[in-house]
Structure formats: C-alpha cells, structure tokens
Amino acid sequence: MHLAGGTRRPSLRYFALITAIFSAVVVLYISQTRMMTAARGREAGMRELVRILQLTDLCISTEARYTRNPAVTELTVAFQDHPDSLEHFPSGSFWTPPIMEKK
C-alpha cells in the first residue's frame, strides 16, 4: 500500500481528475453568460411582438387548449369534459393547474 508522498498518490490523481471536470463545468457555466447576452438581444423584439399581438402565453405545447394557453384557460381544466374525466394528455402531467390569487 502506498501511503505517503510521490505524484503517484491516488488522492492527488483523483483531485487532478475532479479539478479537470470541475473546470469543464465552470467553463460551461461561464459560456452560459454569452448565450444569455445573445438571447437578451432578441428579447426586446419578442416583447414588442407580445404587445402587438396581445399574447398572454408561450407556445410550447399545442396538444390541448389548457396547455397551449395555461394562463387564460378555465380553472376546471382537469375535469373540463366531464366531472369524472381524468387528465389524459401527456403534457398535462408536466403542467400544474393555473393558480388563483387569494383576494
């Protein structure tokens, strides 16, 4: 068993490996800033589009009206067709029901 000194210590090699992977994660994290700056450049035009078209929702899932426009949909979405009907659209399981603000 090799317990002391030398560059062949497993602990030092392990730290070197962890440092390399950690550096890669940090580089990815920093590159996120560049991507965010590019996205920010497009956001002003997109907000203007929202204003002109009077949009209330993002277009992510188009399979059901309550996943296409969750913000302006009925509050009884899970039972919209019948009181006994269960959610059956796949994306419906990804979305929580819309919230009601307490008065």
Partner: protein, 392 residues
Amino acid sequence: MKFTGIERQLNILDYALHSLARRPGRHLSITFIFALVIFLVASFQMVTASLKHSADVLLKTAPEITVQKMVAGRQVMMRVGDMARVGKVFGIKEIYPRVWGYHFAARNGANYTIIGLDPARQRQLPPYLDGVKMPLAPGEAIVGLPLAKLLDLGGRRVFSLARGDLSLKSFRLAGTFPAASDILTGDLLVTNIADARDLLGMKADEITDICVSVANPAEVRTIAGKISRVMPGTRVLTRDQIRKTYQAVFSWRSGFGSICLLTALAAFFILAWDRASGLSAGERRETAILKVLGWQTTDIITLRFWEGGAVATMAFLLGVMAAWLHVTIGAAALFRPVLMGWSVLRPNLELVPVTRVSDFIIVFTFTVLPYLAATVIPAWHSATVPPDAAVR
C-alpha cells in the same frame, strides 16, 4: 509516525480509493446510476428555470388586464357592447377587443391558434416580417414557421382551412414569423378580424375577450377588482397573475416532474441504503482488521465518508455537466416528448440556460448529502462493533 491533519486525510483518501479500486464494477455502476439520477434532477431544474425565465421576460408586455366571460365554468364569447360596460371603470387608459380561437385541422391533427388583428396593430408588425405589405388584404394571413412547414405549401401561396360547417375558407400566405419567435408564434395564424371571425364561426359583434390598459400601473389590481364588480360572471386576469402562473406551472409540484424524479431519487437511496447497510462479510472483516491495527472508530467513519464522497463528487460533476449539455445542445431532447405530448405542431424551443449557483446547491443538497448520510451512518454502526466479534 505522526501525520498532520491534511496528510492524515490524504492517507485515508488514498486507502479509500484503493478500496474502491478493489471492487471497480460495483463502484462504477453506483457512480453511473448516481450520475444518471443527478442528470435527471439537474436537467429538470435547468429546463424549468429556462422556461420560467422566458415567460418572465417575454410576458412583461402581455395585456395588463384580460376580461373573459364565463358560463358554467367555461369561457364564452363576449359582445362588442361589453366594452362599454368595462369603460365605465375610472382609471382605464385603453380598452381593446381580442378575436382569437383554436382551429383543429382534421387533415393533419394539429391545433392552430387563429388571431384576428386590427389594421392599426398590423402596421406595427413589419420590423419582424421581411417583405410583407401591411395592412393585410382580405383573406391574407401571416403564420408561424412550424405551421407554414406543416401546411407544406411547396411553391403555392394559397391554402384552405375548414370552417365549423366543413365549408372551406381560403387564405393567401402573406409571410411567416421568424424562427426565433417560435416560442410565441409557432402555431399562430394572424389575419384580419373579419377573416378570423369567418373561420372561427363568430358573429360580427362577437369578441373572444377584452384587454384593458391602465393609466397608473400601481392601480391594476384595484381596477381589476372594479371590473369584476361591474361585470359579474367574468374572469379578470392581471398580467402579474399570468406571469405567476408560469412560475407555478413549471414548479417541482408539476405532476410528471415530481413523480418521475422523486421516484428515481427514492429508488436510488433505497439502493444506496441497502448496499451500505448490508455490509459484506469481507467489509466487516476489513473493518475489524483495521481496528485491530489501531484504527479508531472515527478513522473508519472518515474512510467510509471519503469512499462515499469520492463516488458522489464524481457523479455530481458528471451529472451536472451532462444535464447542461442535454438542455443547451440537446434542447432537452429527453423531456420534449412529455413536455409537448401529442402536439402535432412542435415549436422549436431554444432553451437559454439560466442556471444559478443556488440551483447547483439545491441539486447537491438533495442528492449528495443524503447519499453521504446513507453510507456513513451504517459504517458508524459497523465500526462500533468490537473487532473480535466482527472477525468471528
């Protein structure tokens, strides 16, 4: 020989790594499974953070107040005359109707969103549309890029959609929205108000809902309350509520996210606990021999801590890195089938990573710390057994 604190820890780590290397198959498989769990948790966190960010920044210009008429829990059409009733509320700057609705195309099974836009707003659109002459002529339409691809017009500019009575309504394609706006316009067909009403089967004085702009933004909630009193039977939504909806929609409480990820986590921790608590005879003998050689209980706990820590740290970094690549380069390919479900029209989502350091800390706290506890606590139990009993 007396070692300093750091030297002592390095020696124990050396021994721990040797110990892991003696059973490479077992520890590599645990590292892989652990990295997979962290990948799922981190991917979910990154996807939802990105979508919440998009909703937050893009919907800042959504209508300040939206008024919908509700009958039996469902939205029904309003009349142009309803705008005058809303207008009685003091403090309103502008009232404008919205004419919009959904169109199901039986031909391809897709749902389109039809929006009727007045000429004044159409004239504001050109900066985003190359070569489209505004305002639109009767029968002309601008569509989202995924919708244009789905229509598969080839070189043609004219297409037809079926009205509710199955008669055909013709449109001429005036232009498409840019690909960058897919997250807003992917399924849109924007046309004149009269054409939208014609396709959607609405009468000439019918509108879908009413949008209100308020003179003083600080009074939005007050005015929303007044509108709901003036127009009982309506649902009044403020812009803040719309934005809050998106913060809640993509939360950990969302069904698929919580069930899928918590199930994966629970399965992993049961595995970790089972393997760590059911120490093999060889491991118990190793513990006993180390104690006979003079190792203290704290040394053995430190040894198990370093073993678990080495596995967990490697799995955490690999899992987080894979999640970042999955969300940014892979556009969350694993989650898209569920996020979009049976949608025929699938907008191209460019997910911008907005992960903060706190998100990494949350993932670390929910995954690595429980794993370390699950390995160290059983080790403490086994290390407190007298060595002669363990050897026997």
